[in-house]
């Protein structure tokens, strides 16, 4: 028996439920229905991982509906790494296609969405909620920084007479910016904190949300346009603080640089560029 043929036949069964090719490798034909244990195990592991990685998305859709949709995702995008940590990177994009009006050509998706009576607005929120879930996960698992710019270090620099605006800094690896609908962010927070919907924002404008990790916990908040300019200057690349402040002031001449810098220090957002 060729092992590769066996594995190909098994893989075809797992992905498509077609046991025709694997049956010839089974010793007892009356046990072929037991192959289902492996197929169920494959889907369960993947769907459980999506459920863990997109918890608020699942909460919004409710478990049964989420798992139905997740199963479609697994069919189209089975995992490719030998781990399910971080599985579902393109799940938000998949949701967008699955739930969008153009995606409704698909009969199955039509049935799913009709049965939920999801309006097009809540489609958009759901996609944003999935984006926020995944950004939260990425921030949680991102690299630790051992070069955080602390208040103590800044005090030392000031005592040495070093000009802070000349410091080369960048955002620490846990800081992520996600562009979402303000209402979706409000709903995501509400789902996360188990608060009622009474205080949900009615605003539907697109805003940037910053997520970051401090003391092992991920935080998230909406950014003002000037803050976005500041953060984008320092995202993924080192720049002098002065450059980041100028970017913010260009957007809002009343931007309080001192207050923003203190908030950055308190939230451990910045790391120092070392040569």
């Amino acid at each position: 028996m060729n092992t590769q043929e066996y594995i190909n036949a098994f893989a075809m069964y797992l992905r498509h439920g077609d046991s025709k090719n694997i049956e010839i490798f089974c010793e007892n034909p009356s046990h072929i229905n037991r192959l289902a244990v492996y197929r169920n195990g494959f889907y369960k592991s993947c769907i459980d991982a999506l459920s863990a990685n997109f918890p608020m998305c699942e909460k919004k859709l409710l478990a049964e509906r989420f798992r139905e949709i997740a199963r479609h995702y697994v069919d189209l995008f089975p995992p490719e790494q030998g781990t399910l940590v971080g599985y579902g990177a393109n799940f938000p994009k998949f949701l967008e296609n699955f739930l969008s009006n153009t995606g409704l050509n698909n009969k199955e998706s039509l049935e799913l969405t009709k049965s939920r009576k999801i309006t097009s607005n809540s489609y958009a929120d759901l996609i944003n909620i999935a984006q926020l879930d995944y950004a939260w996960l990425k921030s949680l698992m991102s690299a630790d920084s051992n070069k955080i710019l602390t208040i103590e270090y800044v005090t030392e620099l000031l005592e040495q007479g070093i000009e802070l605006t000349e410091l080369n800094v960048r955002l620490n690896p846990s800081v992520l910016l996600v562009q979402v609908n303000e209402h979706a962010f409000s709903e995501w927070i509400s789902l996360k904190t188990n608060n009622s919907d009474n205080n949900l924002s009615k605003a539907t404008s697109t805003r940037f949300v910053m997520l970051w990790r401090i003391q092992g916990t991920v935080q998230a908040r909406l950014l003002a346009p000037a803050e976005v300019a500041l953060m984008e200057t320092l995202l993924g690349k080192s720049s002098p603080l002065s450059e980041a402040f100028e970017a913010a002031i260009t957007i809002d001449e009343n931007f309080d640089v001192s207050e923003a810098f203190t908030a950055c220090l308190q939230n451990e957002l910045l790391e120092i560029q070392t040569n």
């Binding site: 092992t3 190909n8 797992l14 089975p78 698992m141 991102s142 630790d144």
Partner: protein, 318 residues
């Protein structure tokens, strides 16, 4: 020049095969251990020192759950590692197939090994990847010469990648596939040809015996004790449709009485081997798991006493 490169590569491969640091019995000082669950972290850290040292409590984690760059997951493992031995149990290495993807996988495993220095490292004698897709389950290999070679190649890749020997675990079988040899032969041959050891999962063996009719005790008797570096026990469930005729390896229930019995027999054959109580679903309180762990430790203590008794008898006769 190309011939020289080829020779160098061969020599390196040979050196790798001959000089893996042997870790088969690296856990012989360990007692009974538990699967490490994040929800039990506070309970574990709150254990007093005498409790920690009793019979060398240790913890096992699924290696791939720690394939992260940083953050609290690694921090909590560091906190545990300060006071306890840990072992890494891989579930996504796919030793039986798709070895091209192995290097990227073992690079991450090695980084974790370097950081946490686990007593034991193990994987499964199964396949889980094909043509770049990962099937996230422990899928059985046919026990043929061709599959044996594929498993041996996979173990070699894995051990080369991490720079030390591993233990490989027997799978749970739900049905039989066409085979040239039985499972003990298959696993022992793989171990002998790669220098790896064996992790005997007693629950898997019990499930296989019920599902496919294999004689569990005879199976254990075919395993040379010097190859066994770890034992797993866990709970199982009946298939919701087929009932008792198909047992499922769920890790979602307490260890069943026949599995405890089989553990006792295994320890009688193998001597003192670290025993892990696995639990991955329906996670009970930490105290409840510790009670199961205490039962496993009692079997280990009995085994130790019997071993000491046998030595005394030999000395008296000698």
């Amino acid at each position: 020049m190309s011939q020289l490169s080829h020779l160098t590569e061969q020599v390196l491969l040979k050196v790798n095969n001959l000089h893996y640091p042997q870790h088969i019995h690296a856990g012989e000082h360990l007692g009974a251990g538990l699967s490490l669950k994040p929800e039990h972290l506070d309970d574990i850290l709150a254990l007093s020192l005498p409790q920690q040292s009793v019979n060398n409590l240790w913890f096992e984690v699924h290696t791939e759950n720690f394939f992260v760059e940083g953050g609290p997951r690694l921090n909590y493992l560091s906190a545990i590692r300060k006071n306890y031995n840990v072992s890494f149990h891989g579930v996504g290495g796919s030793l039986g197939s798709d070895h091209k993807a192995m290097a990227a996988h073992t690079k991450q495993v090695k980084a974790l090994i370097d950081k946490f220095q686990p007593s034991l490292v193990s994987e499964h004698a199964v396949w889980s990847k094909s043509q770049g897709k990962y099937f996230a389950d422990l899928l059985p290999l046919p026990r043929t010469q061709d599959a044996l070679q594929s498993l041996i190649d996979g173990i070699d890749c894995y051990q080369s990648g991490i720079g030390r020997s591993i233990l490989i675990e027997n799978p749970s079988n739900y049905l039989d596939f066409i085979s040239d040899m039985d499972e003990p032969q298959f696993l022992v041959e793989a171990a002998k040809r790669t220098g790896c050891g064996l992790l005997i999962d007693i629950n898997n063996l019990y499930i296989s015996s019920k599902n496919t009719g294999v004689d569990a005790l005879n199976y254990l008797k075919q395993i040379p004790s010097e190859l066994v570096g770890e034992i797993h026990i866990a709970g199982h469930d009946e298939d919701p449709t087929l009932g008792q005729s198909l047992l499922i390896d769920s890790h979602a229930a307490a260890v069943a009485t026949p599995v405890w019995k089989l553990l006792e027999q295994a320890l009688g054959l193998f001597g003192h081997v670290p025993v892990l109580v696995e639990r991955d679903a329906n996670i009970p309180s930490f105290n409840e798991l510790m009670n199961e762990r205490e039962t496993a430790q009692k079997y280990l203590n009995q085994c130790e006493m019997k071993h000491s008794h046998d030595i005394s008898l030999k000395e008296e006769r000698g």
